[in-house]
């Protein structure tokens, strides 16, 4: 076991420290006992960090012994008794039951019709390290990044909108059609509506990020909890260079001007960053290369990084970090690295 001389912040950030203090895990306790033998003069700091963590936790509102089981029982009942997409009954919501019944009926009908008329769905998925270019029935092109999935119907009729469903990241080059037929990319968070344009979509990390290169895009936000049919607010119109990020989980919307080329550079096997926080670069490397990088000192995550990293040579990134921030990169597994401060290697 390699242990080191943690600061109080580092102790607080240490998962094993949390296990010891909060979960009272025996193995974790043994770990800190051993650590203390190595750094006996840090006993007071260890106690202080523990004290602070308990203080941060505040008064513990422990659930009653039966709370967890009872609530789970209710979850199971609700799951079993409710049809898909129907709002859960809740105190004060009973009068909605009759509406719910009607809606259920309609939904079941719609569902049945959907199964009768639907066409086969094509499903493309890429693994880590694999990229793929797909040509859609309308000759639009999709460059699918690693670890991503695209779905769409095998045949497209000539009148309805062209629709695809994306998870992961892809760059779209959409062909304009004479009748201005809409093209829609669906993600968990947004519907992206275009006529003919180029844009990048990234749905990783519980949010969707759209970066527009050329043309115009209309963005419709998916609000969860508004039962899907409620009219959302007016769509957002994006112009080239706009980046919009939206998460339907946190309902957080961010709008920014960026260099679209930087967000599409992964297509050519290069990841570009411009004044990007190191923490964000690290997440991007995890998404794109499957490498996991841990920071021993969180504050490095706030520093910014500007430069290009070839997807086959992550060392470029490590070298820059080592040069600029006085840190040392330690390889801890096939695809895992830890960035430690130079002083205490």
């Amino acid at each position: 076991m390699t242990s080191r001389d943690f600061t109080i912040e580092e102790l607080l950030q240490h998962p094993v420290f949390r296990q010891w203090v909060i979960e009272r895990d025996a193995n974790a306790a043994a770990y800190w006992q051993e650590w203390l033998q190595q750094y006996p003069h840090r006993a007071a700091d260890l106690a202080k960090a523990r004290e602070m963590l308990l203080l941060i936790g505040g008064p513990s509102h422990a659930p009653a012994a039966t709370d967890a089981a009872e609530t789970w029982e209710r979850v199971l009942q609700s799951i079993d008794s409710s049809s898909r997409l129907v709002q859960m009954p809740r105190n004060g919501m009973r009068r909605w039951w009759s509406y719910a019944a009607v809606i259920t009926g309609i939904l079941i009908m719609t569902y049945a019709i959907y199964f009768v008329v639907r066409k086969d769905t094509l499903h493309y998925a890429t693994a880590m390290g694999e990229m793929r270019t797909l040509e859609l029935p309308d000759h639009s092109l999709v460059r699918l990044n690693v670890n991503s999935t695209l779905r769409y119907s095998e045949e497209w009729d000539n009148d309805g909108p062209r629709e695809v469903w994306l998870e992961g990241e892809a760059f779209f080059t959409v062909q304009h059609q004479h009748n201005n037929r809409r093209f829609i990319v669906h993600t968990t968070d947004v519907d992206i509506q275009v006529v003919g344009t180029e844009f990048n979509v990234n749905t990783r990390r519980v949010k969707t990020q759209v970066v527009l290169s050329t043309g115009v895009v209309k963005l419709v936000l998916n609000k969860k909890g508004t039962s899907g049919t409620a009219p959302a607010q007016a769509p957002i119109t994006m112009k080239p260079g706009d980046m919009v990020t939206y998460s339907s989980v946190t309902e957080e919307l961010i709008n920014k001007k960026v260099d679209p080329a930087a967000y599409a550079s992964w297509r050519t096997g290069v990841l570009s960053y411009d004044e990007t926080p190191v923490a964000e670069v690290i997440r991007s490397l995890q998404d794109n290369l499957g490498v996991i990088i841990q920071l021993e000192d969180d504050s490095l995550g706030l520093q910014t990084y500007t430069g290009s990293i070839p997807t086959n040579n992550i060392d470029v990134f490590f070298k820059t970090l080592e040069r600029s921030f006085n840190v040392h990169i330690r390889k801890t597994g096939t695809n895992t690295y830890t960035i430690v401060n130079q002083e205490d290697k």
């Binding site: 203390l36 700091d45 505040g58 709370d67 923490a279």
Partner: protein
């Protein structure tokens, strides 16, 4: 068997319709969710209802879920959103946390097994001296162990503001807990005492 899966794989099992995987997630995170929920709104029934809605919702919309590699983050963020909505205080697009209380320690603070009265009062003073947002950010970052990005997202902060707020709160706490350590009987030896005590418990 689910214990060996990483978050991404575990979540994928739920998306594919594995109810046992959902049960595993529920059992793993119920205490955390309850604890955090009670901090947002100290109403046990409302918190339990929200957790019920959260898990029922996950299951019923599992095919439309987005992949996640941090289940803890996903659940805590969703729970906060549900509780805010329940309270009818969620003002969309505005600072959604303005009206959210973050319950401090007006009740008892349990510091390990040391529940000496005077000490307890001093501790309460320390933590209550922090603004609500700072208490919440410390809690999410250190007690729940979310990373700074996730913490920022839940609190609707930019990552850099989250860093600033966090270091401010931590500095305050560090300064004041210096005084706390002095309150302990026999300051130097006490740390070891603490450790051995909890080791024995462990």
């Amino acid at each position: 068997m689910y214990g060996s899966l990483d978050d991404k794989a575990l979540w994928a099992s739920v998306m594919e319709g594995d109810k046992d995987a959902l049960a595993f997630i529920y059992n793993t995170y119920f205490p955390s969710l309850y604890r955090y929920g009670m901090k947002l709104c100290p109403d046990s029934n409302l918190v339990k209802d929200s957790i019920h809605d959260l898990f029922t919702g996950i299951w019923l919309s599992r095919e439309r879920l987005s992949a996640t590699d941090s289940i803890r983050f996903y659940l805590l963020a969703s729970l906060k959103r549900r509780i805010s909505r329940q309270q009818g205080l969620l003002n969309r697009w505005a600072d959604q946390s303005v009206a959210m209380p973050f319950a401090g320690s007006h009740e008892e603070v349990l510091i390990g097994e040391q529940t000496d009265k005077e000490r307890k009062e001093k501790l309460e003073k320390v933590i209550n001296g922090l603004p609500r947002r700072q208490r919440e950010i410390l809690y999410l970052r250190y007690y729940e162990g979310l990373d700074t990005q996730e913490t920022a997202a839940i609190m609707s902060l930019s990552v850099s503001s989250a860093y600033v707020l966090l270091s401010k709160a931590l500095n305050y706490l560090k300064q004041h807990s210096d005084k706390l350590i002095c309150l302990l009987p026999g300051a130097a030896g006490s740390a070891l005492l603490f450790l051995t005590y909890s080791l024995l418990r462990g």
